[in-house]
Symmetry: C2
Subunit: 506 residues, 2 copies
């Protein structure tokens, strides 16, 4: 049975989801929850905040009679210089997950708050974490009707309403707001500058692939970068992975092949299909490319520094009689079991779970993903919108609007657009990050600047500084601080010119 | 019965609506329909266009399962130089009424189209004219649920989707779009620059009171300007009007007073209350101030040039034994019966009609309106949000969001905002127009400019040129043409720099 492996991959930033036309149409999610728990255990003590809730309109753009919902936000005012000093407000644009997870993984913002005398706020994105419409995740995720208000535009409006109200309550209407965000949160930060230029004075959009839509960048971009990340470490490693997909299928077609594969890869339960294994590996490689940080970190998983190098060392360095699949197992164990504590691996154990990013990917966040025969180490695949749409319909009973994001939020001809529209955005990207291919990698104007680091991974700059930080990372963060200082200085000078009596010690 | 006259006035740009707490809580509409028919009879032949329809999402910002609707648009491509020449697209942002009415009252755009080689499109605003969700006005206006998608944000998104699709169909993605709009349409044009900077390269926002919200301008602004317009013609005229309100109430309190008033003012049917008469007069004065054009025109009603001067001539020039109410009647007849063909006057004959602007005023477009004892010729009134809200609830079962517009579309600190955000907006205003008080009257940057004319009325610059045009009006339009030419030139130079092969004869 030569079942053809044609995967439609909907890739999230914190969880790789797989729509497989040949097996389950439902998305599955790797280790996110486990990773989160580990992180909280480690980081919580470093970041002190109050948790509060803000009553939000469920639909900002209609007057349908809908119940309001509670948006959670974290706030820290320990360093704020206050409204009378025009103390800035740093707002992290919460993305597709628990806001505590993002807040505690954004050490950079916490570190620079004292220098700026900034108030920190981390509003959570609707439909994630505790910010559930209709009172609970179960109700919010019930069906396409209850999910229908999970959109980027509503989330941006949430931020605008939230911060406007916060400023009013603090009598801090004149305080400048600076936006931060990583990954989808970075896209939100950049889009806030586009859609709400009156709400914030600037945005640090880290690893924000705002161009990963429609036909703006080639659909192969993501997987080509993942593949290149492996190739640069070792071309034999790259080739081993490239050849492994056929080996997996061949093995799976044997009598007891799935059982044997389950054993080779130490799964707790027998595999149902080779697709499950391929997806599991695909996830690992994609995340490894994202978090190929230069020092040990544990954003997704506890990992060593330069984890791809480690993976390839295992793949290439296996004993000469190791099979190709044994090599692959040795490599991927670096990702899934670096601590060595995992006895056996679980595939996603909630095949019927509905995750928010899947909904978003099936409505607005349609990011075409292919993998090329030529450059990629993955199975060749051409993005097929029809089957993508069909999968979305089968999963959610919703039709995507693949052209809506570019209409609403731009993207085509971003250079002319951003140049003539706006100001004060930093697009920071590390070129190891496969999402960098869909981001802005060159300066668009004197105030819309790209900070690109060759060795950087997925929003590395937002992480806390460490003694192991390479020089280029230290310099990147210094550049970011300098630019933000410049925005605030300019803003204050303009205020001062408008209201001469306001002159202070800024 | 000393019934106190406390009116909450919701003022539209094409129809003055009156919420009277003491009488009918339902809005009433003066002559709009009749005026429209007269205009069409006169103007239709001058403007040739095709009428087409575009299928729109009812809700752009959610994925609720809603029926699409047909948005009407008018299109003229007679002068378009085409996609290959980067021929510009002039888009009029349809406002609160039949798009044919606005298109045929925007002669300026038609006149300059040949000079620019421009494609003209006039998309209609949802819920007006023929662009009715749910198939008919009756269904669309049925209740708060069906009306709930009548919002400014949805209308802006309609324009963005419409023009993006149009450009794609014409393979004219690179053609620059210039926005035009008068009054609420001008607000939409300016807001398009704020919310969709990637969709259009600039906007002529004529008589666009984007600051008439919340506490940005004093609530007395509108009626103070109306009053000043009368006072500058004649202070005795101003005083006669100022004294007439008490005279009306006094007359109404007499036995047979309402009957006598109906006779004095030539109503076809007896008045039910003096409020009805006061509202009718209030409407006339407000519109007279808006359309106090320097030559005969018939935007709202057929009127002579300088109609306020005419009104005051009648009021002041009545025979010396004329009563104050007879004077008022003589004056207001200039507005309601300049042609002399009206035998008797009808008050609004559809007290239960629900008009779209009333809904908008009761949801987002909350423009506080007061009239001051000191400067105004109207009855003193302090805007009272509680009773406004109550009227909205009684009428539509909807609660206004009075702070939403400033959150979503800015307004507070417009100077800093627009200066640091954007480019290419012309705010044109005539100071006779009572809406000018809520608009932008000074240059905010080198590309966000105010063209202010002392003698101008409500979006006079958008009207067709006439032989009687005063010099300042001719100059104003020349300045507008020059600025638009500059935007297009800059855009083309940038395109040329990006794609050197595109060099053409621009």
């Amino acid at each position: 049975m030569g079942s053809e492996l044609r995967l439609v991959l909907i890739i999230s930033f914190v969880s790789v989801l797989v729509f497989s036309t040949s097996s389950s149409p439902l998305p599955r999610f790797p280790r996110q929850n486990r990773a989160r728990i580990q992180l909280f255990g480690e980081d919580r003590n470093d970041y002190q905040y109050e948790t509060k809730y803000f009553s939000q309109q469920l639909d900002h753009f209609s007057f349908a009679d809908l119940p309001k919902f509670s948006q959670r936000y974290l706030i820290n005012s320990a360093h704020w210089t206050g409204a009378s000093e025009l103390g800035p407000i740093f707002l992290y644009c919460g993305n597709e997950g628990d806001i505590e997870w993002f807040a505690t993984n954004s050490g950079f913002i916490w570190e620079i708050a004292p220098k700026f005398g900034a108030l920190l706020v981390f509003p959570e994105h609707r439909y994630y974490g505790e910010s559930m419409p209709y009172g609970s995740k179960e109700e919010a995720y019930k069906n396409a009707t209850t999910l229908s208000y999970l959109t980027t535009e509503q989330a941006l409006a949430d931020f605008a309403v939230f911060v406007t109200d916060l400023k009013r309550n603090l009598s801090a209407e004149a305080s400048p707001v600076v936006l931060f965000g990583g990954s989808y949160g970075g896209m939100l930060a950049a889009w806030m500058r586009l859609k709400y230029p009156h709400i914030a004075i600037g945005a640090l959009a880290s690893s924000a692939p705002i161009l990963q839509f429609e036909d703006i960048v080639p659909p192969q971009t993501f997987y080509d970068i993942v593949s290149n990340d492996f190739k640069r470490e070792s071309s034999s490693c790259f080739n081993t992975i490239k050849n492994s997909w056929d080996a997996i299928i061949a093995e799976g077609q044997k009598a007891n092949g799935l059982q044997q594969l389950s054993k080779t890869f130490h799964f707790c339960r027998a595999l149902n299909s080779t697709d499950d294994l391929s997806d599991w590996l695909d996830s690992a490689y994609s995340y490894l490319a994202m978090v190929d940080y230069p020092y040990p970190a544990d954003f997704m998983m506890p990992l060593p520094g330069h984890p791809i190098k480690e993976v390839c060392r295992k793949i290439d360095g296996a004993s000469s009689d190791a099979s190709i699949l044994e090599r692959i197992y040795a490599g991927v164990s670096v990702y899934y079991n670096y601590t060595g504590k995992v006895g056996c691996f679980e595939l996603d154990d909630d095949p019927h779970g509905l995750d928010g990013w899947n909904w978003q990917a099936c409505t607005e966040m349609v990011m075409p993903m292919s993998s090329s025969q030529k450059n990629s180490m993955f199975t060749a695949y051409d993005f097929n919108y029809s089957s993508y749409k069909e999968d979305c319909w089968n999963t959610f009973r919703v039709n995507p609007r693949p052209r809506w994001v570019t209409t609403e939020l731009g993207g085509h001809d971003i250079e002319t657009t951003l140049k003539s529209f706006g100001s004060n955005i930093i697009f920071s990207n590390g070129l190891l990050d496969p999402w960098s291919g869909g981001s802005v990698l060159k300066n668009l104007s004197s105030t819309i600047v790209a900070l690109v680091t060759k060795e950087g991974g997925h929003h590395l700059d937002l992480r806390p500084s460490t003694p192991e930080d390479p020089k280029w990372l230290v310099e990147q963060r210094e550049a970011e601080i300098g630019l933000i200082q410049g925005w605030i200085r300019t803003y204050r000078l303009e205020k001062e010119a408008q209201f001469p009596l306001l002159k202070r010690s800024w």
